[in-house]
């Protein structure tokens, strides 16, 4: 029987209360959101916090998706299922919809939250790549107030983030750009498994040229999830299959996959190329559709 090691349990009544508890209890305290990343880690003793602060009661306070002044604000306790079912995301930031269709399974998506997934910072985490590709900003709250960081600062390598001991990720802000499209695709072995490899792309068109682009990869060991080398290939150019193939080659060169039970390094690198091209094509189609 797998059960977590013993811990003390506290239940937060508000975001402020959760941060106060974190600050009182010290670095051995962890927040429990949907629990679908942390509890499995605790069963395996990969995490053994002395205190768990259950923030499930904050699901209302931090469960929201709001269009606000050229950005979408997503509360950190928004559950995967609500992201998947959001019409706003499907229409304007379809990369989230693409990703949520293939994150875990429908039952897990009922509980898991975006904030929990991002703070777990698994190197295969889809939503880290999604937020990186679209230039998401993470709002981190502490006793001293809020600070906002991009994914490049947020993701500090496997299982490490910019969120400090007495801090909490409270919101994700994603810019809503005109004439933009985004897409996500992953290859996995079966429903609910981590990715063999995954890619996300976003493109902004201005007068039929790519004015801005974001490409991010998951599960292929790059130093950072954002693949600037591939995005640089695109900027200033008119979209074309040939251009996307060049960007895909840049992504293949930038990633550093390792061989494991999900495939050889060569196979994963091949998949990165295919998925980068596909997501770029789909992002460009969506950007054009938005133009019309």
């Amino acid at each position: 029987m797998q059960v977590p090691a013993p811990f003390e349990y506290a239940r937060a009544t508000s975001v402020d209360n959760a941060i106060e508890l974190l600050s009182e209890l010290g670095p051995e305290a962890r927040l429990l959101a949907g629990g679908h990343s942390l509890l499995p880690m605790m069963k395996l003793r990969l995490a053994s916090p002395e205190y768990l602060i259950d923030i499930d009661p904050l699901a209302d306070e931090l469960g929201y998706l709001i269009e606000d002044d050229h950005e979408v604000r997503i509360g950190a306790m928004t559950r995967h299922r609500d992201l998947l079912e959001s019409g706003l995301l499907a229409q304007r930031l379809a990369i989230f919809t693409d990703a949520e269709r293939v994150i875990a399974d429908p039952v897990v998506r009922n509980r898991g939250t975006i904030g929990g997934a991002l703070c777990q910072a698994d190197p295969s985490e889809d939503l880290i790549a999604v937020c990186a590709a679209v230039g998401g900003q993470m709002v981190i709250r502490g006793l001293a107030g809020d600070r906002v960081v991009g994914m490049r600062d947020f993701y500090r390598g496997p299982y490490r983030t910019a969120v400090g001991a007495a801090e909490m990720l409270v919101e994700i802000r994603v810019p809503l750009l005109e004439q933009s499209g985004s897409a996500y695709e992953k290859v996995d072995r079966r429903v609910g498994d981590w990715a063999v490899a995954a890619a996300g792309a976003s493109i902004t068109l201005v007068q039929r040229k790519i004015a801005a682009a974001g490409i991010a990869l998951a599960a292929v060991g790059a130093r950072e999830v954002t693949c600037a080398e591939a995005a640089d290939v695109l900027v200033g150019q008119p979209p074309s299959d040939e251009l996307f193939a060049r960007a895909a080659r840049a992504a293949q060169e930038a990633c550093e996959p390792i061989a494991d039970q999900r495939g050889s390094a060569e196979y994963k690198r091949h998949v990165v190329g295919v998925l980068t091209e596909r997501t770029l094509r789909r992002a460009a189609e969506r950007a054009r559709a938005e133009q019309e």
Binding site: P6, Y9, L32, P57, P106, V107, N110
Partner: protein, 156 residues
């Protein structure tokens, strides 16, 4: 710690360790062994119960967390001695072989039909995609849920 969980419309209070998972609370504290305990890793879905009507994997929820919700287990599917249409569907269409995945499958089916009374086969397959039947009896499970959709007459 003292935890009170509402299961099938009854409040149960028990003194448990904070680390107690909902699946063990149901089985070991309440003796409700209809909820099965399988993989421990939130993959297999045999431990699925409903929390406020939505299917969740009870091996990955603390009993303490569940105390904020109304929990429904397979024991609570039957109402006033009448089997739920989903239970009747599994009987009519041979939706089970060994029966180990059945409680979780039926609860997910109930939640699906509550939201979508007439799902397509593709929607049924998507809904149960987080649950594993190692007898590989998926075709009959899908037929069972279809049967329930077609026979969900409330006065029956």
């Amino acid at each position: 710690m003292q935890v009170t969980v509402m299961v099938n419309d009854t409040d149960y209070t028990r003194d448990v360790e904070p680390r107690m998972l909902l699946v063990h609370f149901l089985r070991d504290e309440l003796g409700l062994t209809g909820t099965h305990w399988g993989c421990d890793t939130s993959n297999c879905g045999t431990c699925v119960v409903l929390m406020d009507g939505e299917p969740v994997k009870s091996c990955t929820v603390l009993a303490a967390t569940a105390s904020r919700y109304a929990v429904r287990t397979v024991e609570g599917l039957e109402v006033d001695g009448q089997l739920d249409p989903v239970q009747r569907g599994f009987t009519e269409e041979h939706g089970l072989q060994c029966g180990f995945c059945t409680p979780g499958m039926m609860l997910t089916a109930r939640a699906l039909l509550d939201r979508n009374p007439d799902p397509t086969d593709a929607e049924i397959r998507e809904a149960i995609s987080g649950q594993i039947c190692r007898c590989t009896g998926y075709a009959t499970i899908v037929r069972s849920i279809r049967w329930a959709a077609e026979h969900s007459n409330p006065e029956v």
